[in-house]
Amino acid sequence: MEFTRRDLLTWGSGITAGLVLTPVPWKLLDDTSIWTQNWPWIPQPARGPVEVKNSFCALCPNGCGMRVRMAAGWPVGISGMQHHPVNRGALCPLGFGAHQLNWHPRRLRQVGHQGRACSWSDALAAFRKACAEGPVAIIDGYPDRAASAICHGFARRHGSYRVALRAEQRALLPYEKWSGVPAAALGYDLENTGTILSFGAPLLDGWSAPGRFARLWSVRGAGSADSQLRLIQVEAAPSHTAACAWRWVPIMPGSDAALAAGIALVLHEEHRTAPNAPVPSTTLADAAARTGLSVDAIRDLARLLCEHGPALAISAQPNPAVAALNVALGAIGTRGGIVRRGRRTEPLAAADTLPSHLRAVLVDASVPADFLASTEAEIFRFAAWEGSAGRNDWLLPAPGFLEELTDIPTAPLSSIETYAVAPPLSKPPAEVKSAAQFLMAVDSSIPDVEKIIHARCRQLFQSRAGHLQGEELAAAAPPESAQAFEKQLWSGAVWVGDPPHFGGIPCRLTAWPQSAAPVARAGWTAAWPAPVLPPLATKLYQESSLREPPERRAI
């Protein structure tokens, strides 16, 4: 009997009928659908214990406190630390995506010399040679850390120490010039200010510790007509801060100094100016012409400043005219004005002018990416990501976000002293080294960061000044020993100094200062010092039209 085609078909239909009565087709369908939902190239989050730890952001000198959610040993989420007196639980928008920075495609992982790949020993040899041949300069972007003490100590023996100041810190330089109190010891007592006259300062959009002002403004009646804190934004174009301000005063671009002079004139005319304050030599009509405002409008502004005091004028960049207005308002050393915190007497030496005849310059990773060292010397640039401006002879991969132990000194512009310890929460790649570690390898007599932090904690405890602030501390008694004190700091508590002392800033200003050159508007990313933005920043400027894309930051 042969097996015909009909037999084949019959047999085939038997197979089909049989298969339908088995689990096979249904199971294959089910398994295949599960297979299509589990493509291997879709990344899966790691499974592991989830815990929340405290640390502090050291990307900029504000040192905002953060609660970091960790899963399987890596940071997976950031939120603000409520008990930090500087940021009070708020963070800058980019901070929420900062935990992804360490894997940015432009992460530096290789020592480079003029474009060629090199090793750490090459860099060390070159730096040792440079130190032997002539003076070097160490440039720090985040002064007063333990790592800064290392840089400073090294520089004392081998050259000079300089600080790359940010625009907001520079804005306090006029007061340093007139009173002798270092700008680094001055802050704004915003917590007690009644009216702020902001000359283009993006207070709600990336100024100082962004969270500090945002929280303050919100708590003190933001946005309402009878707000306790009145923000008057003087700015040519409507910015985010201008949109939210109690009042927006549009002026001609570059006429900030003229407006400051005009207001000071009105205050002088109405005998409301502080004693011994200088008088501008211009006229009110002149100020009106330059600013595009009417004379009445300028008088009105002056009235507003006096009506709901204390008043304080803030400019984003150094502007002597605005500083002189503060002298006229009597805001120097008074409640709600410019206050002194700490006992520092030495000013910070700015990195704008470096000594001539330098053999080498070492730039720490904390220095903002747009910093340009005006020098012919060999530059050793530490950075965690590519994109630092200027000619960098040596590019040295530094630890990134939350990858190294550091302490958090007092934030610039704050009205109180603070101190905290930021333990690392992310394992750094093997190839990175910080500038402090590098300098220790060159000069082995320098103590390491951890030892310096121990010493500082002990010193703080023994000074009996200030108090500790932390969520678990609310119920507990103050620590009895230096070890207990330090343990609290390591687990996220913040040491807060005594409240600001008013007075003590003698201001000797006899003549109204010359007007400064018009200042460029500080963009929203000006506060962000790293060369790259967190990857999720695309939400703000590529996947929405909320922001302008940054000019020089790469993504």
């Binding site: 019959t10 047999w11 038997g14 049989g18 298969l19 009565l21 689990p23 096979v24 295949t32 599960i34």
Partner: protein, 193 residues
């Protein structure tokens, strides 16, 4: 006619045999666990008598699942027995600080959220209700992984037709059956994430 019947019948029976007998054999790939772990030994000898002595809850309610190497190292930091498995554990994992790559029978896809705290603490389920009496076993059964979907046979149930004791496995319909029996309705995101 009988020829048609016989041809049809032979195909039919061949398909039934292939589907019910052969298919379950080839649908799964056998994999061995990295170590031959004896639950029963641990329960009887070492005073580790309940599931929760090693498979515990953390403070925030998260379930630790398969214990990490630290739990084993608490007793086995050096050899305390004579078995080959323990030698491998101590030398290859504990001393080197590596996690043992256990193959987890109940591993669900990433979009499933199952809270042990809610089912054990709130609903009062016993471990054996879903996992069987694994605590009394003296060897780990081989890990059978579905060649197509990549998940363990324990998720689908031993029977391809999903017959047998309830729950037959740990698929969504098994969860739904139990929820339905107890009258606890949960929305999609109650179990998914």
């Amino acid at each position: 006619m009988s020829r048609i019947l016989m041809t049809f019948g032979s195909g039919f029976l061949a398909a039934l045999a292939a589907g019910w007998l052969a298919f379950p054999q080839i649908a799964y790939r056998q994999r061995q666990q990295p170590l031959a772990f004896h639950h029963q030994t641990h329960a009887a000898k070492s005073g580790v008598s309940e599931c929760k002595d090693c498979h515990a809850f953390r403070e925030d309610g998260e379930f630790t699942g398969i214990p990490k190497i630290e739990t084993c190292a608490a007793c086995h930091s050096d050899r305390i027995g004579t078995s080959q498995a323990e030698a491998t554990l101590v030398n290859d994992y504990i001393k080197k600080g590596y996690e043992t790559p256990w193959l987890v029978y109940s591993r669900q896809p990433a979009n499933v959220w199952f809270s042990h705290a809610i089912h054990v603490r709130r609903a009062g389920l016993q471990c054996s209700d879903c996992h069987g009496t694994i605590g009394a076993s003296d060897q780990l059964r081989p890990y059978e992984v579905n060649r197509i979907s990549g998940y363990s046979r324990d998720i689908e149930g031993r029977s391809s037709a999903r017959l047998g004791r309830s729950p037959a496995g740990m698929k969504m319909s098994d969860c739904e059956d139990c929820h339905h029996k107890r009258g606890i309705e949960v929305g999609c995101l109650g179990c998914h994430q």
